[in-house]
Symmetry: C2
Subunit: 330 residues, 2 copies
């Protein structure tokens, strides 16, 4: 009986989500963030129902170093989009966050106007857990807000560890926000992030900082010039903006539209999403296999690692011996 | 009897390798490239013996786009080093290679003088196999040439697919070779490679190309400037060189020396090598686990992938169901 009731509750939530009911959406997200076994079954029933309704939004990743003005930018850009009649969901990914209830208030406070906008939906990062776990739940939340009919999904990363790569692996287009620092320098962009970008927005291009922003844009242009494009169908672009003054936002939305059209027409967007699904599947498999290994032979794993660290066994030998002990000769 | 004889043969080869016997070294490399089960046991006995003798060389990775002059550079730089009394081993990593015996001739022909140099040892990429397999065997070969007493190991990649990352994961220092193209442009450096570099060498800085090489160096300097350093103990440097004329080589060797000293003194080199060993171990485990899964449930894996591709199951659900079917409830 319990099993049936809960499956029904997953399916019932799905109907609410698809109908665009915000309360159902919030409940559904809470459900997928739960680790309780009975909730896992419920969440799977939910996805079974909503999966056919997903895929309709443009999925944007947004990253940038602290101080680039991410919150102000999302607030301004989100308000610009809702002003165009579009609905916008903002999700955050932050594996470092140990936030509890108060966090929602935190995220809603830093984007106060957008949080009150009926055409917008802001959801903070799922709290705690490994990057893999946080990324999975965020990826699943993208599917949920799509099923709820949102036109634009913005997945924001605070730029801790490998979170940008995790975000790039779940979005259609990656936007890097930069800003000129006190001097002519850009504020520190992490290594390896620049080449994830399909669009770089130099924010704070206003007032005294305008000349520095222009120089920064030109520096970034030369840097991008040194990198091969991610896809033959799109060359990374640069835009200047002032989130504070609301300037440059239409040009950014236009660039996103051009990207989407080029990727869609060529079939590259469908291929990218397909590859992302498979890559997500592979990392779920790896996490599960790691879990199985830890559960069956946690001590042996630790011992093998110690041998490798001490240089007493090569990694290949240590791994072979360990796997043979657990799974038998392969 | 067979088992004992072969283990003895692995140990005997080890003595030859440690004594610096080139024939034993070549045989040992052939042994670790073999996939025959009896050779695996032999190879493990070999490593058991040589592991304490490893770690003495400076391990350099070298990459660059086709046309940057990698062979000419390695020939000139290798000859410069042997001229200083140092011994140099050159290994190649090329997962696309389907070379057989002829390949050795190929690699030795493109570095003809170095190949004849008694202080140098050139070994082509292990043929065929996945990048993971090729990388493992190359990594093991680094250990072998170290045990044989070589001072400098250069691991060259032809820059196919993810091979640069694989090389960066097994060396102390990553050198990127670039060259000015016909115009002012750099010849295409792949995305994501620039930020692996601890040192960028702009080759062909001679004759008519000198001004273009200088401009290229300055462009690269600005690009590097936008990236955070890989380690707090070293900021990526740029050097101009002409492999053809043998110019700029001492400055490159000096930069390598300064890098090594900074990384060594701070303990960062030991930490890096430790992390590399553990990361190698983890990828061996993942490969082994993938293999176990494919062996036990190859069809189920393919079916789950098809469901994920078709969007009928989320990757998380598909992976959970698959792992549960194979390993039981976890």
């Amino acid at each position: 009986m319990r099993q049936r009731r809960e499956t029904a509750s997953g399916a019932a939530l799905a109907e609410g989500v698809i109908a665009g009911d915000r309360r159902a959406l919030a409940k559904a997200i809470t459900l997928i963030e739960s680790a309780r076994p009975e909730d896992v079954a419920d969440a799977e029933a939910l996805f079974q129902r909503i999966l056919p309704k997903t895929g309709g939004a443009i999925r944007l990743g947004l990253s940038g170093p602290p101080g680039a003005g991410k919150s102000t930018f999302i607030e301004a850009f989100g308000r610009y989009l809702t002003g165009q009649g579009l609905t916008v969901a903002v999700l955050a990914i932050d594996p470092s966050s140990r936030r509890s209830g108060g966090s929602i208030l935190g995220d809603k406070t830093r984007m106060e106007q957008l949080a009150r906008d009926p055409k917008a939906f802001i959801r903070p990062s799922p709290s705690g857990g490994s990057l893999g776990g946080v990324a999975r739940r965020t990826h699943e939340t993208v599917l949920l807000v799509e099923a709820a009919g949102f036109d634009v999904v913005i997945v924001e990363t605070v730029g801790v560890g490998q979170s940008e790569t995790a975000v790039a692996d779940m979005v259609d287009m990656f936007v890097l926000l930069a800003s000129p620092g006190a001097g002519d320098d850009l504020q520190g962009i992490k290594r390896g992030i620049m080449e994830l970008a399909d669009l770089v927005v130099v924010n704070k291009a206003d007032g005294d900082l305008l000349p520095a922003a222009r120089r920064a844009a030109s520096d970034i242009q030369s840097a991008l010039h040194l990198m091969r494009p991610k896809t033959p169908y799109w060359t990374a672009e640069i835009a200047l903006a002032s989130a504070l003054k609301g300037e440059g936002l239409p040009a950014i939305w236009e660039a996103i539209g051009r990207y989407r059209e080029a990727m869609d027409k060529s079939g590259a967007l469908a291929a990218l999403r397909n590859e992302q699904r498979l890559s997500w599947f592979r990392s779920e498999l790896h996490e599960g296999l790691d879990g199985a290994l830890a559960a069956r032979a946690g001590e042996a794993v630790a011992k093998a690692e110690a041998e490798v660290k001490a240089g007493r066994l090569t990694p290949a030998t240590a791994a072979r011996q360990l796997l043979e002990a657990v799974f038998g000769k392969m």
